[in-house]
Amino acid sequence: MPSLKDLKNRIDSVRSTQKITKAMQMVAAAKLRRAQDAAEAARPYAERMGRVLSSLAAVYDGQSDAPVLLGGNGKDQVHLLIVATGERGLAGGFNSSIARLARDHANKLLAEGKTVKFLTVGRKGHDILKRQFADKIIETISYRDVKSIGFAQASEVSQKVQALFAAGEFDVATLFFAKFNSVISQVPTATQIIPAKIEHVEGEGEIVNNSAVIYEYEPSEEAIVEDLLPRNISVQVFRAMLENSASFYGAQMSAMDNATRNAGEMIGKLQLSYNRQRQAQITKELIEIISGAEAL
């Protein structure tokens, strides 16, 4: 049985932990708002980019002379997995669930006899993946010191990826990140970015019809597609990074909320046993005093 003093110390320490988790939760909530706003502000660009690209790419449908970024280089041997995670922990299962998705994907590819390479964006993903794939991680990009992720960072990542692709380091690139659904739900997602997968937006029949209008292109259709595809990769990476940061703060917020609640429960339990012991001690002392007085 711990002594009264021990219990008091435990309660104090749990209480200060609770204060920290509570503060972290509030900070995460504030940052989540900002991250969500940023993700929303980036949406129009990505949407319009997708629309333009899908109308342009339709031209190359089923043709073999498509640009390599769109049609691939015809091989499927070396896979690059770009794993975007958070820079920090204390966010529940956020980092590990992205890493797990990437690891499962990698194991599947390895079982098929493919070669796998990793490029990790974010320190945590690197920490987790290096246990199993230390020799396969070719580069780690960390934005620990960057306050808010901008397009500049995303295009830096995308340029690295494109340089690797141009050097023939890989054939297929897949991007892993957590899609932000809500504060309590972040879904780890994999998207193939090279060769580009063009999503045909459903339920927007009119727009698809409009793309049949004859366009004039300047300088030329091919030149525009060539210009657009690398940009599309940057946009995809940027979107992933923004979704990721929103997801991260969401996950951190709910993790810290849980921690705060658990600490509260723990304090309650400890306080109860503290009070019981205190009462027992008072009773004991009373008995001693009374029986001492009676003996006189």
């Binding site: 319009r48 004039e216 300088p219």
Partner: protein, 140 residues
């Protein structure tokens, strides 16, 4: 008079403009062009320059670098790599870039590198000229 032209200027980070205006002048790769309502469908890449948005009795200027413009029957969409209102345009930064590019040019050795660097420098110098003209400042 035809109803106005609907324009949107979007950068990866935010939606800058979404409004209906009279005409827009855009720096295409092959020269400036002006779009008014009911323009034929047209798509072009952009070079660094200034977009002038002319409303009924006002004009707004935006700096744009990279990206492309899409003129469709619904209006004009400009997807810019980087875009800021002219008031936020950083002249000092541009001067620094010109300096860096000129140094690059003086270091270039092969003819290919040289012509590329030259192109880059003159592009930036042009940009500075345009910026000064828009500013109404004295041109050197």
């Amino acid at each position: 008079m035809a109803e106005g032209l609907k324009i949107e200027i979007v950068s990866p980070e935010r939606l800058l403009v979404s409004q209906t205006v009279q005409s827009v002048t855009v720096p295409g790769t092959e020269g400036y062009f002006t779009v008014m309502a009911d323009h034929a469908p047209f798509m072009t890449t952009l070079r660094a320059g200034f977009i002038t948005v002319t409303g009924d009795n006002s004009a707004e200027i935006f700096f744009v670098r990279g990206g492309f413009a899409d003129v469709s029957p619904e209006g004009l969409t400009i997807l810019a790599e980087e875009s800021v209102p002219f008031s936020e345009f950083d002249h000092a930064d541009l001067q620094a870039q010109i300096k860096a590019a000129e140094e690059e040019l003086s270091r270039a050795e092969t003819p290919d590198d040289k012509s590329y660097a030259q192109l880059f420098v003159s592009g930036l110098l042009n940009l500075a000229l345009e910026a000064e003209q828009l500013n109404g400042a004295h041109i050197h």
